[in-house]
């Protein structure tokens, strides 16, 4: 299996009067199509690690190689372009633009990328929404949807530009049990079906149960001895 993401010696230190070390020395490889869950107690640095891997944040030391491209020394514009082309994000909070319809929200990244003409963007968005079971809501505003539906729309948006890797930060953290199970199921099924790699930060053992690999982060480091229950 080819490696789509390789992180080496990642450190993240927040400058300040008392520098805070969030991540200290993480090495990680993600293969194509692999479903990886990052677990760990709160404050352990899971989210920080995810932001680094998602190129949203820049490591203080260490390198990240995405799809064979070493991102060291990239500026904000270059990192943003890489995110646009190769990464998709789902957060705990859905972060849909409230004034835009569900369809427009999903089309947004495609319009920015400009790879497909408008008609095709809509077609792709509709097909994603259909797969996620929210096609009927396409023309509604996010505020008219239930929490689970919104999160599924957020997944559709994350997949819009056909990314290599889907990064999810507690995607079910804000949902009730039923919705949570639903989103979990869909994320697992769809990403396997589409062959996407997934890196998900989660507290939810059920969510983690379906993953190919589970990583435990403690104090900014990967705990090598940890065994999932």
């Amino acid at each position: 299996m080819s490696v789509v993401l390789r992180a080496q010696g990642l450190h993240k230190i927040l400058a300040g009067d008392v520098p805070t070390t969030l991540i200290k020395g993480v090495d990680l490889e993600i293969s194509a199509g692999e479903f990886v869950c990052i677990m760990g107690p709160s404050g352990s640095g899971k989210s920080s690690l995810l932001y680094l891997l998602g190129l949203l944040d820049v490591p203080t030391h260490g390198t990240i190689e995405l799809d064979g491209v070493n991102t060291q020394g990239f500026n904000d514009a270059q990192l943003t372009q890489l995110r646009l082309e190769k990464l998709g994000f789902v957060f705990q909070f859905h972060f849909l633009l409230s004034e835009f319809s569900v369809l427009d929200n999903v089309c947004l990244p495609m319009r920015r990328l400009g790879r497909w003409p408008e008609a095709q963007c809509r077609e792709r968005a509709m097909s994603l929404l259909t797969r996620l079971g929210v096609a009927a809501q396409a023309l509604k505003l996010p505020s008219q949807l239930s929490g689970g539906q919104r999160q599924r729309v957020a997944v559709a948006r994350a997949l819009a530009n056909d990314p290599l890797i889907l990064l999810a930060d507690e995607p079910t953290g804000n949902l009730d049990t039923v919705a949570s199970a639903n989103v979990r199921q869909i994320l697992h099924d769809l990403t396997r079906e589409l062959g996407k790699s997934v890196i998900a930060v989660t507290h939810d053992p059920k969510f983690a149960a379906g993953a190919d690999r589970r990583i435990n982060v403690v104090d900014g480091q990967i705990d090598p001895d940890w065994q999932p229950l």
């Binding site: 949203l56 943003t80 372009q81 646009l84 947004l108 990244p109 920015r112 990328l113």
Partner: protein
């Protein structure tokens, strides 16, 4: 255009705030227009009066600089020192005036009248009054002066028909209770004495002028002042008054006599008007600047409210420039809409002001407020409005572009 789409959505989802900042720009542009139209209108009105009531160019029997001595002319670059010099007596009056008159008249768009100006004393019923005497050719004077319009009694034709006639001002007429047909005695500098009949009376509104200016026929003046076949002024009117400076210098170049244009003669007034314009434009621009604070306020609020949207847009792959673009566009939309509406409202205000009639203090006739419809003030109003809107939008836009998604994501979860 995703940026435009998002910008438009931001504005329309905050209708009240947007409307308030829009009204600010509209009022700013409208007041800018109305005030500048009135100020520029009054300026133009003033200049028109200035130009109409005085000659565009006056050529007099004087020289701009003292005459150079022949030795100076012969060796212009060498040191020539002449001490104890007393220039030779000049014959007063314009030499060869008929020839020069023809020369000036051959210039395009120029009308010219010869005048002999001198002073005299008017005697009437034992009273004396020093007056300025102008000898004119009525047919020519008509083309260069508004004197005929100022006549309240009689006409220039009456003067032409009566070689012993005199036109006096209303002030003088009231002072000596003169009327048409009254006879007055005139003693000129040369000592010659002549009785003249009042044929016409003018009123210009300028008290000094109305009390001391008189007109007689050129021939009569030449006899009275003892200067036969002489004139010492050319009064010139141009088809296009703005050419006065240029034409004046051409006349001076051909005749060496001093030719003073209205612009030169009224330079101080023109300077005052210029300063007035600078002050006026500063003040009305300040209105627009204040209006732009409304936009700044609205956009800053939107940026604050939309930090999550900005974070997600950035994480999805929107560049900092894309985000800035959105907010600058919002400023531009408000600025453009505000300018267009403001120009319309401003034009309406101008229309309204132009229809207002006022009676100037001391005046008898009603006059309309002078409103200038020049295009440049429309351009300035719109241009300055757009500029301040862009400036007001740029600051929040820059802030939005700098937002770091991670900071917001951390705070949100």
């Amino acid at each position: 255009m995703i940026a435009l789409n998002i910008a438009w959505t931001h504005l329309t989802s905050r209708k009240r705030q947007t409307a308030v900042s829009l009204v600010g720009v509209v009022l700013g542009v409208a007041f800018f227009l109305a005030v500048s139209a009135l100020m520029r209108g009054s300026e133009k009105d003033f200049i028109t009066r200035l130009i109409d009531n005085s000659p565009h160019i006056t050529v007099s029997d004087e020289f701009r600089t003292a005459r150079l001595q022949p030795a100076r002319l012969r060796w212009p670059d060498d040191l020539v020192e002449i001490v104890g010099l007393r220039p030779k007596n000049e014959t007063r009056g314009i030499r060869g005036w008929r020839y020069r008159l023809g020369q000036i008249e051959s210039l395009p768009g120029v009308r010219v009248a010869p005048v002999l100006v001198g002073s005299a004393v008017l005697l009437f019923a034992g009273q004396e009054q020093g007056i300025s005497l102008s000898g004119i050719v009525p047919a020519r004077m008509r083309g260069v002066s508004t004197i005929e319009e100022k006549l309240v009694e009689g006409s220039l034709d009456d003067l032409e028909a009566n070689a012993g006639g005199i036109i006096i001002g209303a002030g003088l007429a009231e002072k000596f209770s003169l009327r048409r047909g009254s006879t007055v005695n005139l003693v000129a500098g040369g000592g010659s004495n002549r009785s003249l009949t009042v044929v016409a009376i003018f009123r210009t509104g300028n008290a000094g002028y109305d009390e001391s200016q008189t007109y007689v026929l050129l021939k009569r003046a030449q006899l009275l002042l003892g200067r036969p076949d002489r004139v010492n002024r050319f009064i010139i009117k141009l088809a296009d008054a703005s050419q006065a400076l240029l034409v004046a210098s051409r006349i001076e170049a051909m005749g060496t006599y001093k030719a003073v244009s209205w612009a030169e003669a009224s330079e101080d007034i023109l300077n005052v008007l210029f300063v007035r314009n600078v002050i006026m434009y500063s003040v009305v621009s300040a209105i627009l600047l204040v209006a732009s604070f409304g936009i700044y306020n609205t956009l800053s609020t939107i940026v604050m409210e939309k930090t999550r949207d900005i974070a997600i847009l950035k994480s999805v792959g929107f560049q900092a420039g894309d985000i800035r673009h959105i907010f600058v566009l919002e400023g531009l939309i408000v600025g453009t809409l505000g300018s267009v509406l403001g120009l319309l409202v401003g034009a309406g205000l101008m229309q309204l002001m132009a229809s207002v009639q006022i009676r100037p203090p001391g005046g008898t006739a009603m006059v309309n407020l002078p409103v200038w419809w020049g295009g440049e003030q429309f351009l300035m109003a719109a241009g300055f409005a757009l500029f301040s809107c862009l400036l007001a939008a740029w600051l929040p836009a820059r802030k939005a572009g700098r937002l770091h998604p991670v900071d917001i994501l951390r705070g949100a979860t």
